[in-house]
């Protein structure tokens, strides 16, 4: 009981802190690295929630692919803190206030909910088998559609990334 709770607090602390650092650190590379830490904390939460498969996929997809892409782009563009212009203080203040407002409203809406315990289930919903069963039975159509989406995104990315001059030369 306490172990789980402690773990939860620790992971949450890490997640929130590094999420904040994502926003606040000046160097985009640091932002990326903090975000990766956040993702790891979230993956830890997944494991806590008995969703090991999802945790692994989360790490592979987010940390292994998406964030690498981010890092890749930042490296290619060679961005560092000097390159970012800062917003005016007024804008920053406004941003903070409105985000705070959002938080307040969210908390307000959550506050009413009762205390529900998350229990590790007898039925292992997080196992590969269960996931697969649900995914390929109930969600087959969305699954197929999302595969199409990925394909389209891939083509789109390639088209966008393609050098225009090359295209001209080819034609």
């Amino acid at each position: 009981m306490t172990f789980t709770n402690n773990l939860f607090y620790f992971l949450s602390f890490v997640a929130v802190l590094s999420a904040l650092m994502v926003v606040l650190s000046k160097n985009p590379v640091h932002s990326v690295l903090y975000l990766i830490i956040t993702f790891f904390a979230i993956a830890g939460h997944y494991v806590l929630l008995n969703a090991q498969f999802l945790a692994a996929v989360h790490v592979i997809v987010y940390a292994g692919a998406i964030m690498v892409l981010f890092l890749y782009v930042i490296m290619l563009l060679n961005l560092n803190q000097e390159s970012e212009a800062h917003k005016s203080t007024l804008m920053k203040l406004a941003a903070t206030i409105s985000a705070g407002l959002l938080l307040v409203v969210l908390i307000g809406s959550i506050r009413g909910s009762e205390q529900l315990m998350v229990q590790p289930q007898q039925v292992e919903v997080g196992s590969v088998k269960d996931m697969g069963r649900v995914l390929f039975k109930e969600f087959l159509l969305p699954f197929e559609i999302s595969s199409v989406l990925l394909l389209v995104a891939m083509i789109g990315a390639v088209m966008l990334g393609k050098n225009e001059e090359e295209g001209k030369n080819a034609s």
Binding site: M91, A94, S98, L102, V105, L106
Partner: protein, 638 residues
């Protein structure tokens, strides 16, 4: 050894593979390779079909129904459809016809299409057609049948418009397509109704449920709608006009699709659902009526046609009508029997006609033929066999099947019998007219065409001979009981129609009556043949080239009773007029006005609203967040 279930799934696979192989490599494959792949794939299917057929024969009659489910195709809510194949006597017979005749026609096409630039495309379409046709007959549910149904329609469209550079041909293709859609509409509505009514679209479920449930109005509605589909596909009045026009396609297509296989889909479908029909006498009556009218009507049109393929096309329509007569009479096996024999001799006739056309460099008008006996001896021989078969001269194939229909009609009543007999005699007349005009008498073709007239290559003549053989012996599969023994085909199909037979009143004709009928029919036939001989050979009558020289009746017939014009006047014109009206008033004033008004309004409003757009994304996001906060708080506090 591969299991039977695998074999079943292999049957449609090979034509599909053939299609994919050819279609994807159309520009790369040589003509020879394409031809071998296309025909080979169908041949393999044929061989497998044979194996399946004999497998089926080896089973006890009650067990002769193999179903193999490949995978679940659609599963949403209660609705589920699987890709699964059903092999029973009916579909296995159909398989044999499709793949067997199909294979022969493939081989024939090798010679016929050899010099065409679309050679590879043609074969890919043919293979695709065979695939869809197999799907149609093998599907174990209505949806799969519908897929096949649509697929063959598509292939038919593609093949009719094969020479798409000719506008008329494209128009014919369009016509066929649209006509078929009308029928398909009926079919799909019927399928939906079936699902609503029975909660399933599997044949097994539906048919057994229907048999158990008995007749009802909804069943009548379903069957009529199904029959609408059949009318479209099998070219029955009033949806028949596309078929003669479909002769625009290459001749092998006419033979395969528009004589032997696709047009019989309607027959197949009705027989497949025979229980439903048996349970709704109204529909049976409708079928009978439509069938007999179509048969007579088309036969009369055929009398005056001068295009060799058109004659055959109307003949097909007429024969299909006859088959529906049989079905309307509840004689399902008879219908199938006639369908099978018809498939062989009509394919033969078409292909022979194609051979003639091939030999005369594309000439189709029989007024420009005559005396071709000497030039095309093999074609002549097989054509004669075909004509004898369709005319019902014993012991050729047509004799047995036609006679069976006539006998059934006689059981039912003299009127039907009389009409059927009339149709059959008309058939004899126009077929012999065709034969005499084409092959007898003096050559009327232009000298230069004639000088090049030649017998077709072996790849064309060998399939002809094979089909001729079938036309000769094909009738014996339905050898009537009158001559002793049992009817093997009827026995084979028995499990299929057993339930229906229990519902149908048992007629039986005494052997004597039957024999007498046969004698009468044969005698009349011979009389008609002699008449035709006198008219076209002795008197050397040739249809006039000029319309003014013919009688009004003849002219009417020649113009197919002005049916096309009638359709044009009563359907197309009003439709166009209504479209014009809607375009003028509703569209321009009503809808456009509304749309434009809203557009103008937005433009006017946005002239001011756009000032909000600073173009600064940060600001947008900011506003968005504020919006979210507002919405959430509204949710929270209100």
């Amino acid at each position: 050894m591969v299991s039977t279930s695998t074999l079943i799934s292999l049957v449609p696979l090979f034509p599909l593979l053939g299609f994919l192989l050819i279609a994807l490599n159309a520009n790369r494959l040589s003509k020879g390779v394409t031809a071998v792949v296309a025909s080979g794939s169908v041949l393999i299917s044929f061989v497998i079909s044979m194996i399946l057929f004999f497998n089926l024969l080896s089973l006890a009659p009650e067990q002769r129904s193999l179903q193999v489910e490949l995978f679940n195709w659609i599963a949403t809510g209660k609705f589920s459809a699987s890709i699964s194949f059903l092999i029973d006597p009916l579909s296995s017979l159909m398989l044999l016809i499709i793949t067997g005749v199909g294979f022969l026609i493939h081989v024939y096409s090798i010679g016929y299409m050899h010099d065409d630039e679309g050679h590879n495309r043609f074969f890919s379409y043919l293979n695709l057609f065979v695939f869809f046709m197999l799907l149609l007959v093998m599907g174990s549910n209505y949806l799969l049948m519908f897929v096949g149904w649509e697929g063959v329609g598509l292939c038919s469209y593609l093949l009719i418009g094969f020479w798409f550079k000719n506008n008329d041909y494209t128009a014919a293709a369009n016509k066929a397509f649209i006509m078929n859609r009308i029928g398909d509409l009926g079919l799909i509505v019927a399928v939906i109704l079936i699902f609503v009514q029975f909660g399933s679209i599997e044949y097994s479920n539906v048919l057994s449920a229907a048999a158990a449930g008995g007749g009802s109005e909804i069943l009548t509605l379903i069957t009529i709608l199904l029959f609408v589909g059949a009318m479209g596909k099998s070219a029955q009045i009033p949806l028949y006009t596309w078929l003669p026009d479909a002769m625009a396609g290459p001749t092998p297509v006419s033979a395969l699709i528009h004589a032997a296989t696709m047009v019989t889909a309607g027959i197949y479908m009705v027989v497949r659902n025979n229980i439903l029909y048996t349970l709704s006498p109204t529909s049976m009556g409708l079928i009978l009526l439509v069938g007999i009218i179509t048969a007579l009507f088309a036969a009369s049109i055929a009398l005056a046609q001068t295009d060799i393929k058109k004659v055959l096309a109307y003949s097909t329509v007429s024969q299909l009508g006859l088959m529906f007569v049989a079905l309307g009479l509840g004689a399902y096996t008879t219908g199938i029997f006639h369908m099978a024999t018809h498939a062989s001799f009509k394919a033969l006739l078409f292909l022979a006609a194609g051979s003639v056309i091939h030999g005369l460099q594309g000439e189709q008008d029989i007024r420009q033929m005559g005396g071709l006996r000497k030039y095309l001896p093999i074609t002549f021989a097989v054509f004669v066999i075909g004509v004898l078969a369709i005319s019902g001269i014993p012991p050729f194939a047509g004799f047995f099947s036609k006679d069976e229909i006539l006998a059934k009609a006689y059981e039912h009543g003299m009127v039907i019998w009389a009409f059927a007999l009339l149709t059959s005699l008309l058939t004899v007349f126009y077929m012999f007219r065709l034969l005499f005009l084409t092959f007898f008498g003096q050559p009327r073709a232009k000298a230069d065409v004639l000088s090049h007239a030649h017998e077709s290559p072996p790849s064309m003549t060998i399939p002809l001979m094979a089909l001729a053989l079938l036309s000769i012996i094909g009738g014996f599969m339905g050898f009537p009981e009158v001559f002793g023994g049992t009817n093997p085909l009827a026995g084979f199909l028995e499990p299929l129609v057993a339930t229906s037979n229990t519902h149908l009143a048992e007629h039986s004709l005494s052997h004597n009556t039957e024999l007498t009928l046969m004698a009468v029919v044969v005698a009349l036939t011979i009389v008609v043949i002699i008449a035709a001989y006198i008219r076209y050979v002795s008197r050397k009558h040739v249809p006039a080239a000029n319309e003014r020289n013919v009688s009004a009746l003849q002219r009417t017939i020649l113009h197919k009773y002005y049916i096309d014009e009638l359709y044009e006047a009563i359907i197309a014109k009003p439709l166009f007029a209504m479209g014009e009206f809607l375009q003028q008033f509703m569209e321009r004033l009503g809808i456009d006005g509304l749309v434009n008004a809203s557009g103008n309004g937005v433009v006017g409003a946005s002239r001011y609203a756009r000032l909000l757009q600073s173009g600064n994304i940060g600001v947008y996001i900011f506003i968005m967040v504020i919006g979210i906060v507002l919405i959430l708080s509204a949710n929270l506090f209100l």
